[in-house]
């Protein structure tokens, strides 16, 4: 367990050191959110109708940001070889990386999500659900993103490739999360969307590490 916590601490501090950690992701999130009214029209009633959805979309995009470096840096400097040889199974190592990624960028983004949604015109009563959905959804974004990052190890066009691999897999969490927020705003039952989001996230957290470890072993072989 101490090896695990040491690894988590290492990944967490690396995530902060990696280009400003949450600050960069938050800045990106603010930029995308402020572009949205410029692109979609700034009339309050149009904007309010799509506000939760836009905030959710910006969240999915912002969680793509630092993925490229998640495995690439350790792969380049040989740390990934050492981690693969270490006492912790590679599956758990990969899961820890994603968990640290989520703590360093996903959780701050989840706290910023209601601010973005309200700034775009969503009702204030939506804020708690937005945070909750963004926390759960961010976890699946982190694990699926880690899967994409590990699969593109050893390729040249890393960043774009990760986005192309990962965005189709982001479809269910985007639909479930935005659906729950939309249903809440309309006064409809919203719990099913949140439960489906949680189920998808649980599956991603359980299964993605297996794929990540297989991809890392393949890249190291």
């Amino acid at each position: 367990m101490s090896a695990f916590s040491a690894l988590l601490r290492r990944e967490f501090s690396l995530a902060f050191g990696r280009g400003g950690g949450p600050l960069l992701a938050l800045a990106f999130y603010a930029c995308v959110t402020s572009l949205a009214p410029l692109a979609a029209g700034r009339a309050p009633e149009t904007l309010a109708a799509v506000a939760p959805g836009l905030a959710w979309l910006a969240l999915a995009l912002a969680s793509l940001l630092s993925l490229e470096r998640l495995f690439e840096r350790d792969y380049e400097d040989g740390a990934l070889d050492l981690l693969a040889l270490g006492p912790i199974p590679l599956e758990l190592t990969c899961a820890t990386k994603c968990l640290a990624q989520w703590l360093a960028t996903g959780a701050p983004l989840a706290l910023a999500a209601p601010i973005a949604a309200i700034a775009l015109g969503a009702p204030v009563s939506l804020a708690p659900l937005t945070v909750l959905a963004a926390l759960i959804g961010g976890l699946s974004f982190a694990f699926l993103g880690g899967l994409g990052a590990s699969l593109s190890l050893g390729s040249r066009r890393g960043g774009m490739l990760v986005a192309v691999i990962v965005l189709p897999l982001f479809t269910p969490p985007v639909i479930f999360g935005a659906g729950a927020l939309w249903a809440f705003g309309e006064g409809l039952p919203w719990a099913s969307g949140l439960l489906l989001l949680g189920g998808y996230t649980a599956a991603a957290v359980a299964l993605a590490p297996i794929g990540m470890a297989a991809a890392c072993r393949n890249a190291l072989s």
Partner: protein
């Protein structure tokens, strides 16, 4: 993995080349023999009382849509065999199947769009079935992109195999997640439909012929592409040997 003698050609490249040499053209002829009458029957069928002559497009659209999913299942299965059992032919088969599947998926979207313009009054809607087919198309593209982006061929094939299997697990989830939306696309009218909705025989027969024809065409093209891949690998091995000697 031990296969019965009759299926041995699926894992032995030598036997595969001898079998596919006659199987590929045979399937090609069979495809032509099925698709041409299917087209003729569709074109001569009476226009639907609601859809008019645009009903002609439907057999092609539905057959391509089924193929787009069938080919992804083939791709996922081949990737599984390539990844877990290290089957060389399975890897070649996966590589060969992906572009074909992407073409079937694109065909589904394009024909559906051409049909949708006169019938629904729009080229495109963000409806459940259409969106899930579009995402299937993106999954094919991401497989091809990943495969192309990694230089080391063995590594590229394993990475792409993992991705294809992840996609296989995700496909039903993606499908049902988009079904969540309200949709414009009509439900299935072939299997398990109510009596009023089920397809009349004049359209059902060409549809089934078209599906079988597309299957045969896919089988033929798949075999041809796998043969090409086997030849390419042999040529590369020969070039390496020549360089080494």
């Amino acid at each position: 993995m031990k296969l019965p003698r009759a299926l041995d050609f699926l894992q032995n490249p030598e036997r595969f080349m001898t079998v596919s040499r006659w199987l590929a053209p045979t399937l090609g002829v069979l495809a032509a023999a099925l698709i041409l009458p299917a087209l003729w029957l569709t074109l001569t069928a009476p226009g639907d009382y609601q859809q008019g002559s645009t009903v002609v497009l439907l057999p092609i659209h539905v057959a391509a849509a089924w193929m787009s999913m069938f080919v992804y299942a083939c791709l996922g299965g081949a990737c599984f065999l390539a990844l877990v059992f290290r089957q060389v032919l399975a890897d070649a088969a996966a590589k060969a199947a992906a572009p074909l599947g992407a073409v079937f998926t694109a065909l589904t979207l394009i024909i559906g769009s051409l049909w949708g313009r006169p019938m629904w009054g729009t080229w495109w809607v963000w409806d459940a079935r259409i969106t899930s087919v579009l995402i299937l198309f993106l999954l094919y593209l991401s497989y091809l992109a990943l495969r192309a982006a990694i230089e080391d061929e063995t590594k590229a094939s394993r990475m792409a195999s993992i991705l294809a299997m992840v996609g296989l697990v995700n496909l039903p989830i993606i499908h049902f997640s988009v079904v969540w939306w309200n949709s414009l696309h009509q439900g299935s009218s072939t299997f398990g439909a109510d009596d009023g909705d089920s397809l009349p025989t004049v359209y059902l027969v060409p549809l089934l012929l078209m599906v079988l024809g597309f299957m045969a065409a896919f089988g033929s093209l798949w075999l041809v592409r796998i043969r090409g891949e086997v030849w390419r690998r042999r040529a590369r091995a020969a070039a390496l040997r020549a360089a080494g000697a």
